[in-house]
Symmetry: C2
Subunit: 686 residues, 2 copies
């Protein structure tokens, strides 16, 4: 017997339907050994077998293997909610990942996965099986379905589901119509913060965040799974970019920069009511009332006992380390915070993951901030409540406090960055190379980005347990922009062909007061739009680059990929890439919304010296089209510079404005972002 | 064509399943005229007809009538939540009740009800059709299903439903097992208030409260429906008894008396997390965090704009009226607050219903208190939130604040009661009648009530839209007591046979400090256990009375009655009673929990002079077995005394203790209530 490994993917289908119920649209049946059935179903096994044996498709044999010890991961109840931010949950998940990764072949992996499916908490099961499939040599080419397929309830207004259930039950498949998700369902514009809800609640952004944490797991006995190249630095940079992008959206909506949540003892002014349910738990995600205060946590159920003063202590130790220039590892040795590598160490410390050099001393600041906020409504578990959206990497970005917390986290990183030597002209310039012209074209006025609303459909049916089969679509509204191209003219006066890295960023031109931005502020609002290597022939070069090729984003189709459509053929190299590339900023959110009058921004283009940027490695067959925020699978981060270069440091003396900062290999183009309040249906929706 | 009126009851089945989907276990189909279909379904009407025509039972013709104007009731969106406490909703419901009541025969009522069913908000539809069926001459004998059958989600832990859906889909009907609802799911005992959650969250108590408000609607153009005999006084008394019973439960759990919520500007210390969803809206009931403050309300969606100071003004006007001894009606005339009738006027004012003599001036204190609390988390609708459990009479009693609010409302009533002339001995005594002995027997130690936990099952399937048919049971745990009897010896020395009214109350013997109670406190904790008329022959009389006959309660079977079982035959007089009698305190909650050591209490028995109590009316064929808290359908309240007599006033001079208060026709027996922490399965559960 040798399992078809594609059947493993069927275990992601309808997470609460028992494993013996036919799976997928083809009604594939797993032939589950009797002893694999749960206590509820074993006594009526024969009855069930008869019931579900009619009208089914393929039958998948499941080998009856001896089951490893699952006590630890089984400690999380089946209908509880799972959170990577809770250390106990991380440990349980780490154990299960190790079990899945450790199975000697696909046959055995299938058996243990089938055994676990109806016993392990479905969220944890999905996470651990996903991480294992991504990291096992024999399964890493399998095309994982998007998380939203299994758990649409983490991304969609809860009110959609009863309507979807009606549609699925009453209306035959050909006549079904999409269920419209209102664009504004969590709040009204009376709530100022709601103006940027389209960003916070964007499905693609939240899927990216979930996927990022899938690619960079916190914990595993297999250190390689956690200890990826420059992981800590990427944690810093990816989240720094999120905050910059959020601020850019705020500027597009007449809101000032997000306020750092730098005093945990102050009430949180922002209320948030997610209006989502957990279908597995039949529980709503708890809201947060306006002006809620954090409190010391003592919850034996989660094995968390922590005071606000612990957080303050960790913060103080972190600050001391940065100011002294070294951290102390768990053996008491000093690790210097070097110009290149310091940020990576600090990222691991602050996040923190299991590769933090001294978690006992520096603590778990970022994760525990999520936990404190997520449990503010029930810090001692007296109300038997679970955490709010801030406790789940799939939902945390919906909440305004996410950005306030990460603005503060970023502030801590900037403390270090501010202490580094500033880039001299020599470290910025590319002698002989001049960027002489930059123009953005999208078919309309040059140097004007155009944004609007788009409606797209997503099939909910794979995540809706116990309903008739067949697609049921929800139609959601998201930001979109016209596809555009950069047209860059570069003069190469070096006398020979050379390579350069083109780095494209954008930031608002004016600050909240309407005054031109100071560089020290503007650099923190620079959002990366693209980065690519190019050959520069001697003389004048015309470079054209399309927005769809951005190194930051993945295409819409990949964000929402389903098991059936829009994907490469199984087993090909293209498919292997497809998977890892589930991580990536959604392309429809590449450009901030702008304003109806046109938001003034500055587009920055730099061509840096590729010999200083280059990382020697083989890239063929690996996904690298969204490497800026996600890195590359099984490879080094493909840019030797510190992430965020050239904006990751304070500017050199005298560079008070962006114009001052420029060297000949850089150029700034004034651009506008014009938003039109129209809604178009995405092509190819039903 | 003449409709079988029993088919109207099928419209209560599965409230979100469209009306053309087969109804009930017999799969009855309404032949809905095409134009009755909603816009969603009219275009695919033929397709649907074919789909649902196979494998069905009876067909019910529906007459195509012209539809009256439904604009007002249609203003509430189909998937919103309906609240009798919101004036706009009351108006909409009042209009729909009038339409239903005004249809000239059952045929037309069926047509309009079928037309409304898929358009009107399901909660409002259920409420209005229930009120109409209860009050129409040609339908008042119809056996309404319990509200919990249609909307189990208002009474049951939300986590039960996904499990019930699994059971209904996966397991054949004969093999299904009940889903256990944990006894403690809303909080743990870390929350002191949770000790009395078994009372607050008791399904029977909440069903009683819903049913009480069904029998006593707030508003209708048909004044008779609202203006029932002594309605205002019953509002006072029924809620006074709820508070007394709650305090008795608190004493059983080492908690002090509930604190009046007498300052709306203080934060509410008690948090409450109901953990229930609305299946119709796919939205959770919002929680209340600890220490939430009320705020002025300005919600155009509900047409409510009201300040806390409005409440304070209404309260001040009410107090002034009580102190001056009259209220001013809407024509500016004084209505004296008489000893007998004053409380009825004040009840109507405070509740308030549409028969309040001057709502414009005295306002809407009680209802708006519910609204302020229910909307504390979103007073200006910025978060698009709906009200919490306090906003629905079916769920309000779950929340600790309900009792704090009603303790304050009761305080306002006691301000009036305290101003009334005290009962003289002459108004209490029954010359010649002596109660010489009282004993309670339940098969164990005499004068000891025994309480314990019982588990009972309830079928959820009629309220679970879009699931396969067949019963799915939830098993819940509730308080229960051993059935008992009062044995009362009464001497009649009057020389002739007379009639007497036996009034039985009980209160704790000691206060929170463990000291014997002062009468002025104890009278407010007196819970009514029974009241009945009896003939007293000359000489010694032995009266036996069973707990199941209590005038306060209805039997367990009636609280949870279903369409199929445990009910009288359709069309009989017994059945007509059955309906109204959905109102009534649940018998399983007749006796407070007590304590393991035995809580000391005083059982009070009085025999009053029936000639002073008697109300002349024909009672045959009307339900009167739970009249104490509910009155009698279409009849006067069957006791001429003020409700709560003899404890509804301050005691006469010198009566500082209950013993001082006694006249020969009264007797007090020391009793204990002993709780044993054991759980028994209710006989006849599956």
């Amino acid at each position: 017997m040798s399992a078809n490994k594609n059947n493993l993917l069927l275990l992601f289908d309808r997470p609460s339907e028992p494993v013996f119920v036919p799976k997928g649209e083809n009604k594939t049946v797993f032939d589950v050994p009797d002893k694999f059935l749960t206590d509820r179903y074993r006594p009526i096994g024969t009855q069930l077998a008869n019931r579900f044996n009619a009208d089914t498709g393929d039958r998948v044999p499941v080998r009856n293997i001896s089951i490893p010890n699952l006590d630890l991961p089984l400690q999380l109840k089946r209908r509880d909610i799972f959170s990577l931010f809770i250390p106990k949950h991380r440990k349980m998940a780490g154990k299960l990942i190790d079990i899945f990764v450790g199975m000697r072949n696909v046959d055995d992996l299938q058996s243990i996965a089938v055994y676990c499916r109806d016993r392990i908490n479905p969220y944890m099961f999905n996470y651990c099986l996903s991480v294992a499939l991504l990291h096992r040599e024999d399964t890493k080419d399998l095309p994982l379905p998007s998380f939203i397929q299994s758990f649409p309830d983490k991304y969609v207004d809860s009110a959609v589901f009863s309507r979807a259930r009606e549609e699925a039950t009453v209306v035959p498949e050909g006549s079904r119509t999409p269920i419209i998700i209102p664009k504004d369902y969590t709040a009204s514009d009376l709530d100022e913060e709601h103006r940027v809800a389209y960003f916070r609640e964007d499905m693609g952004i939240n899927l990216h965040h979930w996927h990022w944490h899938l690619v960079y797991p916190f914990e595993s006995a297999n250190r390689d799974i956690v200890n990826k190249d420059r992981r800590g630095e990427l944690f810093y940079y990816m989240h720094e970019q999120i905050v910059a992008r959020y601020n850019f959206e705020r500027f597009s909506n007449n809101l000032g920069k997000v306020k750092r949540f730098n005093d945990l003892r102050q009430p949180i002014a922002e209320g948030y009511f997610p209006k989502m349910d957990s279908l597995v738990a039949s529980r709503a995600w708890p809201p947060r009332f306006a002006n809620t205060r954090l409190a010391d946590i003592n919850r034996s159920v989660d094995q968390i006992r922590i005071d606000l003063s612990d957080m303050e202590q960790w913060r103080d130790r972190y600050r001391a380390a940065v100011e002294q220039g070294f951290v102390t590892n768990r053996n008491g040795q000093r690790m210097p915070l070097t110009e290149e590598g310091g940020i990576d160490i600090l990222g691991n410390i602050i996040e923190s993951s299991s590769i933090s050099p001294n978690q006992a001393f520096y603590g778990d600041l970022h994760n525990m901030g999520h936990v404190f906020i997520a449990l503010a409504h029930d810090p001692d578990h007296r109300h038997l409540e679970t955490f709010s959206v801030m406790g789940d990497s799939g939902t945390a970005m919906r909440d305004p406090i996410f950005y306030r917390w990460h603005a503060y986290i970023d502030d801590l990183f900037q403390l270090h960055k501010g202490s580094l030597p500033r880039y001299t002209v020599a470290r910025l310039d590319y002698p002989g190379i001049t960027v002489s012209n930059v123009q953005v074209t999208d078919g309309g006025t040059p140097n004007n980005f155009r944004t609007f609303w788009q409606q797209s459909d997503i099939d909910l049916s794979r995540g809706m347990d116990f309903t008739p089969r067949g697609a049921v679509f929800a139609r959601f509204t998201h930001l979109q922009h016209e596809p555009f191209a950069y047209n860059i003219t570069v003069n190469n006066a070096s006398g020979s062909d050379v390579m350069g890295t083109v780095r494209i960023f954008m930031a608002p031109k004016f600050d909240e007061r309407g005054l031109p931005m100071q560089f020290r502020d503007q650099r923190l609002m620079m959002i990366e739009l693209d980065k690519f290597a190019t050959t520069l022939r001697s003389g004048q070069n015309s470079i054209q680059r399309r927005s769809s090729d951005s190194s930051v984003t993945i295409p819409f189709e990949r964000t929402f990929r389903s098991l059936d459509a829009n994907r490469p053929t199984a087993g090909t190299a293209a498919e292997s890439e497809f998977n890892f590339c589930g991580c990536g900023w959604p392309n429809h959110m590449l450009i901030p919304k702008g304003t109806p009058q046109g938001l003034a921004a500055e587009l920055f283009v730099m061509v840096s010296n590729y010999t200083d940027d280059r990382v020697e490695q083989e890239l063929v067959g690996t996904c690298n089209d969204s490497d800026s925020y996600c890195g590359i699978r099984d490879r080094l981060y493909p840019d030797r510079r510190n992430m965020g270069y050239p904006f990751d440091r304070m500017p050199r003396q005298g560079a008070d404005t962006l114009a001052d900062f420029l060297t000949p290999n850089m150029r700034v183009q004034d651009v506008t972002i014009t938003f039109t309040d129209r809604t178009v249906l995405r092509p190819n929706t039903t």
